[in-house]
C-alpha cells in the first residue's frame, strides 16, 4: 500500500517538473496554441483537457504509474544514452545518442501513442482513430491499440498507402483497420480531415490520437508530457555519465514531438543550448505561384497562422493558404509545427536550423557506417546538423535518435541514386529499389 503511495507521489512530482508547466492551464504559448476547432469537437477536447488534468497531471487512478510501467515493459524504456565514439572523435566533442530508435516500433512515436491510447481507456472510450502520413504514427498507434485491446482505425491517404506499404501491412497485422482516403490529393492533409470527420461523428466513444505536439489544446501539452520522458531520462543519464548537463541538445523537428520530448526538461537549464533541426528540403526558397515550399522549415522560415486547431508557425502563401511542404523524409514533411516550439523559438530559447536533403542523406550514411546505427531519414537531419555546425557546439552534445531507418531503405536507395553521396556504399545492385 504505502509503496504504491510513494510511487504515486513520485509520478505526480515527475509530471510537475518546472519545464513542463508551459501551456498547461490554457493551451497558450505566448501568441501560439489555442483551440481552433469546429464546435462539434469542442466538447471532446474539453473532456480531454479534463482527463489530461486528472490522469496525467494528478495521476488519478494511478494512470501515470501504469503508463510508466507499460512504457518500460512493452516499450522498452529507458532507452540508452550512448556515447558515439567515432562521431566524438570526428567532431572533437563528446557526442551522446539518445536511442529512441530502440523503442518498440522503432521510433519515439510509441511514447505518445501508448500514453493516449491508455488515456482513452481510462476515459472509458471504446475506439481509437488516428491519421498517418508516412505510417510511423499509425504503426505506433496500432501497436498500442493491440496491446491495450482497443479497436483502432487509421486513416491514410491513398497515395501514401501506395508509398508506404510495409507500414500499412504492419498496422493490419496489429489488427487495425486502415482506411484509404481518396479525397483531394490522397496524402496526410486529407487523412487529417477525414479523421476529424470521423471524430466529429463519433466523439462520444472515440478518441483521436494525434501524432505530434500539434492540434488544439490539450494535445500539444499532453503529447509533450508523454514525450518528455526522453529528456527526463537523458538529463539523468547525462549527469550520471558525465557528471554534468550537456552543453547542447539536438533533435529533428517535423511536428516537433521528439523535439519537445528531448528538450522539455532542459528548457529551464539555461546553459543547455537547444537545436531544432528542420527539413531544409531542396532549397529554402518557395514557389508562391505553385503554392509549394520545397522544404518543411516552418520554425525557421514560416510565419504565424492557424492550422489544424492551433495558432503556430506555418508555411503559407501571402493569402494564408497552406503550402505543400517537401522533404526527403516523410515524417518531417509537414507545413506546421508545435505551438510550443514556435514560442520557444520566438523567445530565443530554441535555435531553429534547416538542413537540406543532401546533408541529411549524408548524415544517414555517416551514422550507418561509422556507428552501426541506421537512422530514420528524419533523424538523419540531426546528424547533417552536427556535421555542418559542430564547431559552434559545446563539448557535450546529446543528439536524439528519434527513430531507426529500416522503414527508409527504399527511399534511401532512390535518393542516394539521384545524388553523388560521398560516403554512400556501392549500391549498384539496388538501383530501382529493394
Amino acid at each position: 500500500m504505502s509503496e504504491t503511495d510513494t510511487r504515486t507521489t513520485e509520478e505526480t512530482e515527475r509530471a510537475r517538473r518546472p519545464g513542463r508547466e508551459r501551456g498547461r492551464d490554457d493551451g497558450k504559448f505566448g501568441p501560439y496554441g489555442g483551440q481552433y476547432v469546429p464546435e462539434a469537437l469542442m466538447p471532446a477536447i474539453e473532456e480531454l483537457a479534463d482527463a489530461y488534468e486528472r490522469y496525467v497531471l494528478k495521476n488519478e487512478d494511478g494512470f501515470l504509474d501504469e503508463f510508466r510501467e507499460r512504457l518500460a515493459d512493452f516499450g522498452g524504456r529507458p532507452t540508452p544514452l550512448q556515447r558515439a565514439d567515432r562521431l566524438s572523435e570526428r567532431y572533437d566533442t563528446e557526442v551522446f545518442l539518445k536511442r529512441e530508435d530502440l523503442l518498440h516500433g522503432g521510433a519515439h512515436k510509441l511514447n505518445n501513442a501508448l500514453g493516449q491510447v491508455l488515456l482513452a481507456q481510462y476515459m472509458g472510450k471504446e475506439r481509437i482513430i488516428a491519421e498517418t502520413g508516412a505510417g510511423q504514427h499509425g504503426t505506433a498507434t496500432a501497436m498500442a491499440a493491440a496491446h491495450l485491446d482497443m479497436p483502432c482505425t487509421i486513416y491514410m491517404g491513398e497515395r501514401d498507402i501506395n508509398r508506404q506499404r510495409p507500414n500499412v501491412f504492419r498496422m493490419k497485422l496489429n489488427g487495425s483497420e486502415v482506411k484509404p482516403v481518396t479525397t483531394g490529393r490522397g496524402t496526410l492533409k486529407e487523412a487529417i480531415s477525414e479523421t476529424m470527420r470521423d471524430w466529429a461523428e463519433t466523439v462520444e466513444d472515440t478518441h483521436y490520437v494525434i501524432g505530434s505536439i500539434v492540434g488544439p489544446h490539450p494535445f500539444p501539452v499532453m503529447v509533450r508530457d508523454f514525450q518528455a520522458v526522453i529528456s527526463e531520462e537523458a538529463r539523468e543519464q547525462a549527469i550520471e555519465k558525465t557528471g554534468g548537463l550537456p552543453t547542447d541538445v539536438v533533435a529533428c523537428a517535423g511536428g516537433g514531438s521528439n523535439t519537445m520530448g528531448a528538450f522539455a526538461d532542459f528548457v529551464d537549464d539555461e546553459s543547455v543550448a537547444l537545436h531544432a533541426v528542420e527539413a531544409g528540403g531542396s532549397t529554402l526558397d518557395v514557389d508562391e505561384e505553385a503554392g509549394v515550399a520545397p522544404n518543411s522549415a516552418s520554425l525557421y522560415t514560416g510565419d504565424e497562422g492557424v492550422l489544424h486547431g492551433a495558432r503556430t508557425k506555418l508555411l503559407q502563401d501571402s493569402d494564408g493558404q497552406i503550402m505543400e511542404s517537401h522533404s526527403i523524409s516523410s515524417g518531417l514533411d509537414y507545413a506546421g509545427v508545435g505551438p510550443e516550439l514556435a514560442y520557444l523559438v520566438d523567445e530565443g530559447r530554441v535555435d531553429p536550423v534547416a538542413v537540406d536533403d543532401d546533408a541529411a542523406l549524408e548524415g544517414f550514411h555517416r551514422l550507418s557506417n561509422t556507428e552501426g546505427i541506421i537512422p530514420a531519414l528524419e533523424t538523419a537531419h540531426a546528424f547533417g546538423f552536427l556535421e555542418e555546425h559542430h564547431e559552434e557546439l559545446g563539448d557535450r552534445v546529446v543528439v536524439n535518435v528519434s527513430g531507426r531507418g529500416d522503414k527508409d531503405l527504399d527511399a534511401a536507395i532512390e535518393e542516394t541514386d539521384q545524388r553523388d553521396v560521398a560516403n554512400a556504399p556501392d549500391m549498384s545492385m539496388f538501383t530501382g529499389g529493394i
Binding site: E46, A200, E201
Partner: protein, 281 residues
C-alpha cells in the same frame, strides 16, 4: 444581436432559405451563374464558401469542391470581386477558415479582411474553426463594420458553452443538425428537435444545417421550430455532378434553381404547419 439589417430582414418574415456554394467551383464564371440561380430559387441568405487549403470541418463533398475551386485559381481577392460582381437579392455571408481571415491584408489580425468584406457587400461571416473563445478580435471588427458573426452550435455543445456562444453570436445561429461534418443525408435527425429545444430561450434566429437535401426535410425542420434551413452538400453535389457529366452551366444552374425552389417551398410549408399549430392552440 444583429449587425446586418439585410440578414435580420431575411429571417424577419417566414423561414429563411440559406444555401451554400463554394465560390469558384468549378470556375469563376459558372460559379457566378450558380450562385445567381440560388438567388432566383428563393435564397434569403447565401453562404459563399471561400476555399481554404485545409478544410478540417468539411465532409468530402465540400472538400472536393474546395479543391476544384482552388485548382481553378480562387483567392480571397478574387472572392471579393466575385461578391461585388454578383447580381442577387439575398444577403451574402462568407464562410471560410480563420487563417485566411487572419492573414488577409498588410497588417495581421482579422480587421483588414472584415473591412474588405464589408466593402464587397458581405453581411456576415461563418468561421467553422473559430471557437467563441478565440473570436473576440474578429467580433470586434465585425461589430465595428456592421457584419454579423455567425457561430455554429453542435448537438454536443454543453450548456455552459451554449451561453458563451450565444453571448457572442449575431445574425443567426447555425444549428448543426447532427454529429459529423457537412454532407447530404437522407434522414432528419431527432437531434435537431432536441437542439432547437435547447435554443428556444435564446432570442436569435436559428438556422438548421448539416444534411438537408430535400423539400420534406426542410418542411419537417422548420415545422420543428427552425427559423431557417442551411443547405450545402446537396447543392454542391449538383455542381459536382455537372462537372462529372460535363453538363452545360445553364443546365446545372437550372437544377440548382429547381432544388432551391423545392427547399424553399418545403420550408414555407413547415412554417405554415407551425403557425397553424400555434393558431389552433
Amino acid at each position: 444581436m444583429a449587425n446586418s439589417e439585410a440578414i435580420a430582414a431575411a429571417f424577419a418574415d417566414g423561414p429563411a432559405y440559406v444555401p451554400y456554394l463554394v465560390v469558384g467551383d468549378p470556375d469563376y464564371e459558372s460559379s457566378k451563374a450558380y450562385v445567381e440561380a440560388l438567388d432566383r430559387g428563393g435564397a434569403d441568405v447565401i453562404e459563399l464558401g471561400l476555399p481554404f487549403s485545409e478544410p478540417i470541418a468539411e465532409g468530402s463533398t465540400i472538400q472536393d469542391a474546395l479543391v476544384r475551386a482552388l485548382d481553378a485559381g480562387m483567392t480571397p481577392e478574387r472572392f471579393f470581386s466575385f461578391a461585388e460582381e454578383l447580381d442577387v437579392d439575398a444577403a451574402l455571408v462568407c464562410m471560410t477558415y480563420y487563417n485566411l481571415i487572419y492573414q488577409y491584408g498588410d497588417e495581421t489580425g482579422p480587421r483588414p479582411f472584415v473591412e474588405r468584406a464589408a466593402a464587397a457587400g458581405i453581411q456576415g461571416l461563418v468561421v467553422p474553426d473559430l471557437p467563441a473563445e478565440e473570436a473576440d478580435p474578429l467580433r470586434e471588427a465585425c461589430d465595428e463594420l456592421g457584419l454579423d458573426l455567425v457561430f455554429i452550435v453542435a448537438p454536443t455543445t454543453r450548456a455552459d458553452r451554449l451561453d458563451r456562444l450565444m453571448e457572442r453570436v449575431s445574425g443567426y445561429v447555425y444549428v448543426q443538425a447532427r454529429l459529423g461534418t457537412t454532407g447530404a443525408r437522407d434522414d432528419v435527425s431527432d437531434q435537431t428537435t432536441e437542439s432547437l429545444d435547447r435554443l428556444r430561450e435564446y432570442d436569435v434566429p436559428k438556422a438548421v444545417g448539416f444534411g438537408i437535401s430535400a423539400g420534406d426535410h426542410a418542411e419537417r425542420i422548420v415545422a420543428g421550430g427552425a427559423d431557417g434551413i442551411i443547405v450545402g452538400s446537396a447543392l454542391v453535389d449538383i455542381v459536382a455532378d455537372g462537372v462529372a457529366e460535363d453538363r452545360p452551366t445553364a443546365a446545372v444552374a437550372d437544377r440548382l434553381e429547381a432544388l432551391s425552389r423545392e427547399l424553399k417551398r418545403g420550408a414555407e410549408r413547415g412554417h405554415r404547419s407551425r403557425t397553424e399549430a400555434v393558431d389552433s392552440v
